[in-house]
Amino acid sequence: DTAVSQTPKYLVTQMGNDKSIKCEQNLGHDTMYWYKQDSKKFLKIMFSYNNKELIINETVPNRFSPKSPDKAHLNLHINSLELGDSAVYFCASSQTGTGEFFGPGTRLTVL
């Protein structure tokens, strides 16, 4: 029944590791996003996909690579994790006129 789901909810890992976060939406939306929320709660867009195509790629290290196998899924792969990558990552989706619907977030902690 969940509209936008993310896995895992928590991710604790060592520096230098590679990890992935998965996102799925069952709303039929064409557009999906990844946002990063830092320790001060500030939300910033990272990527935006429309119908599986990358539309927006903000100033994000190329260690971050999104992949959209179909328009219901948008995964985020992170290589060579650094301490500064620790944050909460939110997936969202939207359709014209709906506003954005957010997933529950993935809290990433890099040790």
């Binding site: 946002y35 709660k41 935006s48 429309n50 927006i56 014209t96 619907f101 957010f102």
Partner: protein
Amino acid sequence: AQSVTQPDIHITVSEGASLELRCNYSYGATPYLFWYVQSPGQGLQLLLKYFSGDTLVQGIKGFEAEFKRSQSSFNLRKPSVHWSDAAEYFCAAGNSGNTPLVFGKGTRLSVIA
């Protein structure tokens, strides 16, 4: 540059009191405007949105917001706050339904008995 400003970092109100959270935007044209709420450890839930038309919009949980073009503002209000309203509130703006939102830095609401 497009921006959204929430002037109040933290607000404390008594349960049952009225609430107003401020939001100002800076955009080339009238943007789409949103208010989201984030409870601790949770994702963001959409409270209400303004695209066009009636400048007073009603949302969920008894919230409303008023768009004032002359002041570039979209303030969130609630006539009587409940303890469960304690959360972080984010104002956001976008150019259309399918562009990423620009978020304000959030206002943390505390509710006291």
